[in-house]
Amino acid sequence: MSKHILLVEDNPTDEKLTLRAFARCGIANDIVVMRDGAEALDYLLRNGAHRHRDPALDPAVVLLDLGLPRLSGLDVLKALRASETTRLLPVVILTSSREEEDIIRSYSLGANAYVRKPVSFAEFAEAAKTLGMFWLLLNERAPAQRRSPLP
């Protein structure tokens, strides 16, 4: 599991649908699912239950829902951008909302993209395919923080 996607989604139906949509383009196995904001943050910042996670296994992209239990999507995003280890991590907001305010706040807090979940599954599958292709195959990640060279 060298390159994978972290899906942060609390709605089990949406989770299943999303996994199926990714399965259609053959990347179902490369997805880790977290079901609330606090757990996702622990995973990404390697805290709590996830403190022993291998940092080499950071996801290629986080698909982040906005309406999440405990910590909201925007709170998670804010915390990620505030941490040295995750401030450059690609985050795509994947949500039902098309509210102008949600879009503006997401970008203001440093989201890399904003995708509204379509109701039509055909469109959703297409969106999943595009997202997977782009973030797993095309996109170049920011290199891990290098140690400062010796003076």
């Binding site: 309406g67 109701v119 039509s120």
Partner: protein, 503 residues
């Protein structure tokens, strides 16, 4: 000014030594001055005998000159006040100088017919060779009193607390509402600084504000955009709104403040804001939580159709399609309702717009979505308006989409956007030559969820025209429709007075 009364220009001398002395001394200039005075002039001897009057006195008191000359001046004083009058005269004789009579008192005079009227009197001593005379200038102030009474009645009947202060901030007049609102009896306020009605934390700045107002006095709100508070006698505060107006008086500028207690309005505004927040939260929940199950319905129906196609016959496949279409329709409805809510609440940012350019871009989108359609689009000239660009785009999207949709079944579809005069005012219109509508239902077109065509014939949410109407109303304009069955439809709209520019 003067009435013809025989000998009016010539003050008549009365019998008696001093009178004849004065008559001989009085020259033409003196008499002319006496007659030219706007007030009634009565000149008496030091012991109160009338020796000279002008014609204004005759008119004011209803006596002929001959009836007054030689009489005691008390003849002109109401009977109820006569007893004390000689005493007052004696006082004046002891200290004769130019002054008003009975300053601070209300003075009354008596006509020949016994009626009384309010007067203002100023006294001046005249020293003559034959002794001191007293000249009284008497002015009828009935009109002024009446005006004052009207003013007071107006003041008392005003719904607001009225506080009138002078330039130094001393309260000179308040009404009953002021007593009630601030909890002070009137007597405790008159002569006090107006700052006693202002919370202490504003005392520092208040005199400066007053000076600024005095420098440029005009009718205006106090502290526009600021929250103002009044201070009651018991020390409690309450939110107020104040409008100021200057009153020019001979004694200098007075400032009248109309003060309104807005506690109730403030409370209502807070409740309204809370209700609006709740509504916002509700539409947000609609946007998210109602869409999620639709995604599930549509998604799993699609998965079933795709992955289990071999286990379903044509009828089964059809059922799945119905499920999917229902879900998609509901998603569109939710989006349309959210759109309607949005046009109702976003802030208007009007700017100069060319509706023809906007319409071209919308028609372009419609054509791109349905490239096979052949529609002739006609754009009028000078379609300029001042309106919110985002909302006008939504408006045109809805109207043009309708025109596009309802002209789908005619062989040579034409959509026209233009402007016409209606009742002397310019109105824009969007016209098509499509299915039209039964004019009997023209009023129902704009109600939410109201549809005049079956969904199978022309699909739609029934929210579009309600949204258009909301947009037009938010601009202070009007929308109406004309049409007939299979005779096309024309939707007229304005953006309120002045927003639709004359060509």
């Amino acid at each position: 000014m003067s009435e013809p009364s025989g000998d009016q220009a010539v003050p008549t001398a009365a019998a008696g030594p001093s009178a004849s002395a004065i008559a001989s001394e009085g020259d033409a200039l003196f008499r002319a001055l006496l007659e030219a005075a706007p007030d009634a002039k009565v000149i008496t001897t030091a012991d109160g005998r009338i020796i000279l009057i002008n014609s204004q006195t005759e008119r004011l008191f209803g006596y002929r000159r001959a009836e007054l000359i030689g009489q005691m001046v008390e003849l002109l004083v109401p009977e109820r006040l006569r007893a004390h009058h000689p005493q007052h005269r004696a006082c004046y004789e002891a200290d004769p100088r130019v002054r008003g009579m009975g300053s601070g008192l209300e003075l009354y005079a008596r006509r020949k017919d016994g009626s009384e009227f309010p007067v203002e009197i100023s006294l001046s001593p005249l020293r003559t060779s034959s002794g001191m005379l007293v000249s009284s200038a008497i002015r009828d102030i009935t009109d002024r009193k009446l005006t004052e009474r009207k003013f007071r009645a107006l003041l008392e009947s005003a719904p607001d607390a009225m506080v009138i202060v002078d330039q130094h901030g001393t309260i000179v007049l308040v009404n009953a509402q002021t007593e009630k609102m601030f909890g002070y009896p009137r007597a405790e306020l008159l002569g006090q600084r107006v700052e006693s009605l202002v919370p202490r934390r504003f005392h520092g700045a208040h005199p400066g504000h007053r000076a600024a107002y005095t420098a440029s006095p005009k009718f205006r709100e106090m502290g526009t955009g600021l929250e103002l508070f009044g201070l009651r006698k018991d020390g409690s505060e309450f939110p107020i709104e104040i409008s100021l107006s200057p009153i020019e008086t001979p004694e200098g500028l007075l400032i009248s403040s109309a003060i309104r207690d807005i506690t109730e309005r403030r409370r209502a505004a807070v409740a309204l804001a809370a209700a609006n927040r709740e509504l916002e939260a509700f539409s947000y929940a609609v946007a998210h939580d109602l869409r999620a199950p639709l995604r599930g319905m549509n998604g799993f129906a699609q998965i079933l159709a795709d992955e289990y196609a071999d286990k379903l016959d044509a009828d089964g496949q059809d059922c799945l399609r119905e499920i999917q279409q229902s879900a998609e329709r509901m998603a569109r409805l939710i989006d349309a309702l959210l759109g309607l809510a949005r046009v109702a609440r976003i802030e208007l940012r009007p700017q100069a717009l060319d509706l023809a350019a906007l319409a071209r871009s919308v028609i372009g989108e419609l054509q791109a979505a349905e490239p096979h359609r052949i529609v002739k689009a006609v754009y009028g000239k000078q379609l300029f308006a001042t309106a919110d660009p985002e909302l006008v785009r939504v408006l045109l999207q809805n109207l043009l989409q309708n025109a596009w949709k309802f002209s789908a079944k005619v062989p040579a579809a034409v959509i026209e956007i233009g402007r016409e005069e209606h009742a002397g005012l310019p109105a824009f219109y969007v016209r098509d030559n499509g299915a039209g509508f039964d004019p009997a239902y023209a009023d129902k077109l704009f109600a939410p969820f109201q549809r005049l065509h079956g969904a199978a014939e022309f699909p739609g949410t029934g929210i579009g025209l309600a949204t258009v109407q909301r947009i037009v109303q938010r601009h202070g304009g009007r929308i109406w429709a004309q049409g007939s069955v299979n005779g096309g439809a024309t939707f007229y709209f304005t953006f309120g007075d002045g927003a639709t520019e004359h060509a």
